[in-house]
Symmetry: C2
Subunit: 210 residues, 2 copies
């Protein structure tokens, strides 16, 4: 069943079980979706308000962008589960003869690459969404600024969570150049994204605490 | 409708809307529930495995504890929405005469206290759950260690998210001693909890990246 069609209670129960999916990858995508949704909430609370008329067009563009990224986050949660089955099957292939070994290595490599693509896309989406959150934090309704703060923390969790699944898959890849390239991109998204999230969050927190 | 009975898609859509609830508070509770669920997954992947027989009893106790805290997280998500209605109503009370002013101040104070209680409980639950995650990270199945990493980041988001709702409500409280006391507890849970989450996460990350 697609995660997005499950109730929260059902998803939490499946996540708790020892079944391999949903796991950390799908949860990271979901964290991204929740952070994104809070951004949309802030945009929706800003649009149509006289006080924010000067930024209304910009906020409307951000909302449209967030909506597209939201459906991507929800799709990625399901994709994370979908790429697991062929990878688990590849791990189970026989590897007695040289021919079998070579075939298994080929299938493994292909599936590891695909399994690292999904968390990498979660990270890219989270990083792009953080840029939109930054603008919402500066120009969006002051009444909803705390939701920007909560939202960036969920996007931060999407980044820090998804990078784990990049590492797990690149670790077993035979093509070390490709593996290092993926790790470098992931580390850079992680570093830049968490720094941005922390900056936005601290600004919101100081403003709220007074 | 209770959040836990909604599908993920429905919850995300409601969260995105300009309706005041669900908002950052409910999302923080949900982040806690997702982090907790990943902890349960790690426990379930450890229990029954020969390799971890020596710690099985301890892990079973942790699982029981996580299950109780999980139902509390899901309950707190709904409570966060439930305390909003009377608080919004209190903001709308008339305040022309001295009598009206005094009555409004009393009702406001009571509802602000209740509205800060919910995020404070989310923070306490997240802090306690992090302690269990620390043990799972040390003694749980090595195959699921990345899920400990993702889980602690979601619990971190629960802490950093919920503290916003503590600040918002304590800020308007007339009883400044009580407000400061609540802020102090929140800040201490925040500082200690994020430090612990970051420590556990870095240990997991270094182990995975190799």
């Amino acid at each position: 069943m697609e995660n997005r069609k499950q109730t929260i209670e059902e998803f939490a129960a499946e996540l708790s079980s020892k079944a391999p999916v949903p796991g950390g990858g799908g949860t990271s995508a979901l964290a991204g979706a929740l952070g994104n949704a809070l951004g949309q909430m802030v945009a929706n609370l800003t649009i149509g308000k006289k006080k924010y008329a000067a930024v209304e067009d910009e906020i409307k563009e951000i909302l449209k962008d967030l909506e597209i990224r939201q459906s991507h986050f929800l799709k990625l949660a399901d994709e994370d589960a979908a790429v697991f089955t062929p990878l688990a099957a590849a791990y189970g292939l026989p590897s007695q003869t040289d021919e079998e070994k070579e075939y298994k290595a080929q299938v493994m490599e292909k599936n590891l690459l695909e399994a690292s693509r999904v968390p990498m896309e979660i990270m890219r989406e989270a990083a792009e969404t953080l840029k939109l959150m930054e603008i919402l934090g500066e120009k969006g309704s002051r009444l909803a600024v705390s939701d920007v703060g909560v939202g960036v923390q969920l996007l931060r969790a999407a980044l820090t969570g998804a990078v784990m699944n990049v590492y797990i898959n690149t670790k077993s890849m035979k093509n070390r150049d490709k593996a290092e390239e993926l790790n470098r991109e992931a580390d850079s998204l992680l570093e830049e994204g968490t720094r941005k999230a922390d900056e936005i969050y601290e600004t919101v927190r100081k403003g709220l605490k007074g």
